[in-house]
């Protein structure tokens, strides 16, 4: 049995074999543990930085869209209400914006954001309304050739309904030749755009002469015709030539000619405070309206800070 134990002084290779295995197992465990830790770290980081960028942008965009929507609705409602002065219009709008701000910032506060909206300024506009369908389109003093609005940069609304019976029927001649059809003239200082309205047989005929001198005719067979000069329609049928805003430079004057040769109603809204004061009982009436409002908007979260001044138009208008 002497050969069983290795002689003293000689290194035992049996022990070294087990050492190799043990250290191999230890390394394997180390690698796997490292891998698990690394995976967890990467995974956590990916989730943490995931959607928060877009969350911030979305929150600001949503807030701004809500502000625009409410402000647009408010301006419309304020303009519909009975206000006699620009001061009372502005005060009403300011109050509405403040009330909305109060409620909206409570919602935002619950979501961890500080938001604020306030009214900075309004631009005054005028709405010119002629409501008595039996009366002709002359002004309060009875002039048949008169300036409805001067120095206008933007028209927000321009609709008229004319009754066919009241219109001139030039009888074979064009309105240019006969010279007595009711006309709307837009004059921007260098060019003029004219719309002449007349009757022919059972139709209401609209003859547009644009700034280059081209004539376009649209007509509708009806007792009365609703002409929308901004939408470019006559009784809801498209007539793109009617859109004078595409043709004239701003700013421009709006004239009526031969206004005693048309009856019906009209309403137009321009973006300026006109010097005409409302004639009591006269027609048309000039009403104060708000053309647009400038708001100061701010929105703050720990991650984003947003401040701007923003111009809002009434209703669904895009500028």
């Amino acid at each position: 049995m002497d050969g069983l134990t290795p002689p003293a002084g000689e290194v035992s290779r049996t022990d070294r074999g087990q050492l190799l295995l043990v250290s191999a197992v230890a390394l394997a465990v180390l690698f796997v543990t490292l891998a698990v830790i690394l995976t967890t770290a990467i995974h956590t980081e990916t989730i943490a930085t995931g959607a928060s960028e877009t969350d911030n942008e979305r929150a600001v965009v949503t807030h701004q869209a809500s502000v625009d929507r409410h402000a647009g609705e408010s301006i419309e409602r304020v303009n519909e209400a009975d206000h006699d002065t620009y001061e009372s219009l502005e005060a009403d709008l300011r109050e509405r914006i403040a009330a909305w701000n109060d409620l909206s910032s409570r919602h935002d506060g619950g979501a961890g954001a500080a938001s604020n909206v306030s009214l900075v300024a309004v631009t005054e506009g005028t709405r010119i309304v002629h409501e008595d369908g039996a009366e002709d389109f002359t002004n309060a003093t009875g002039e048949q050739s008169w300036t409805v609005a001067d120095d206008v940069s933007a028209t927000r609304d321009f609709r008229m309904t004319v009754t066919r019976q009241s219109l001139r029927a030039p009888g074979g001649k064009s309105c240019d030749e006969s010279g007595d059809c009711f006309e709307v003239t837009i004059d921007d200082g260098t060019d003029t755009w004219t719309m002449a309205v007349s009757a022919a047989q059972n139709e209401v005929v609209v003859d547009v002469e644009n700034t280059s001198g081209d004539h376009t005719t649209c007509s509708v067979a009806n007792q009365s015709a609703e002409i929308d000069l901004l939408a470019g329609t006559i009784e809801d049928t498209p007539c793109p030539a009617l859109r004078f805003v595409d043709d004239v430079e701003s700013s421009y004057d709006i004239h009526y000619g031969n206004a005693d040769n048309a009856s019906g109603t009209y309403t137009l809204t321009v973006d300026r405070r006109l010097s005409e004061s409302p004639a009591v009982g006269g027609s048309p009436s000039y009403e104060p309206v708000i053309d647009d409002a400038t708001l100061a908007v701010s929105y703050r979260t720990p991650a984003v800070q947003y401040e701007t001044e923003r111009r809002v138009l009434p209703g669904d208008f895009d500028d």
């Binding site: 000689e10 191999a24 390394l27 995976t39 995974h43 409620l103 919602h107």
Partner: protein, 204 residues
């Protein structure tokens, strides 16, 4: 046999080789496992989650924007039955719709957007009271998971707007007069209140 025991290494040689091979297999195997784990699991799993989440978010945002634009969300908020104190056709227990969409245009839009049966959603309406902001449930499909997506929008309700009857036509009762789930937050103005509608979407 030698006195020094030199014969012994022959037997030990095979055992040692075997152990070395096993050790090598251990190490190589663990390295391969570790590399594969990091490369595949860390990135793939979260990318898939993120993809689904942003898809839900996109659908919910589009749906809310469309519903605000065409007025169908506004109409559904007014689809209130004041005698029952609940929305028309809602579950009588809670006054909200359980596991179904409202029978309105907005409900049809919700159905179209979330056709996949695995996608669940809740719709809540938050409104201000005198001291607090409370939540009124509109649609409940269950409890959201941790990875649910939440999208909100604000709407203004006016006191002169009318409640809608069960067939979506306007009734003669205005919000100012009605027994509505939200109180009049701005008495004395024609603004009734401002609500925040939230849509929560998750995969079941």
């Amino acid at each position: 046999m030698d006195v020094t025991g030199r014969d012994r290494p022959d037997d030990r040689g095979q055992a040692l080789t075997l152990e070395a091979v096993v050790a090598a297999i251990f190490i190589l195997g663990s390295v391969a496992f570790a590399l594969q784990l990091v490369a595949v699991t860390a990135n793939t799993g979260s990318t898939a989650d993120e993809g689904i989440e942003s898809q839900h978010r996109g659908v919910a945002e589009g749906l809310l924007d469309a519903a605000v634009e065409d007025g169908s969300l506004h109409a559904t908020l007014r689809y209130w039955n004041e005698t029952d104190g609940a929305f028309h056709g809602a579950d009588p227990n809670g006054g909200y719709y359980v596991a179904t969409s409202p029978p309105t245009e907005f409900g049809a839009l919700l159905d179209r957007s979330f056709e996949d049966r695995h996608v669940r959603y809740n719709v809540n309406v938050r409104y201000a009271t005198a001291n607090d902001v409370e939540t009124k449930r509109l649609v409940v499909h269950g409890t959201p998971t941790d990875d649910a997506v939440r999208v909100t929008t604000d709407l203004t309700l006016y006191g002169d707007e009318q409640l809608l009857a069960a067939d979506e036509t306007p009734t003669n009762t205005t919000l100012a007069e009605a027994d509505f789930f939200a109180p009049d937050a701005v008495p004395g103005s024609d603004v009734y209140t401002v609500v925040r509608v939230e849509v929560i979407v998750w995969t079941a």
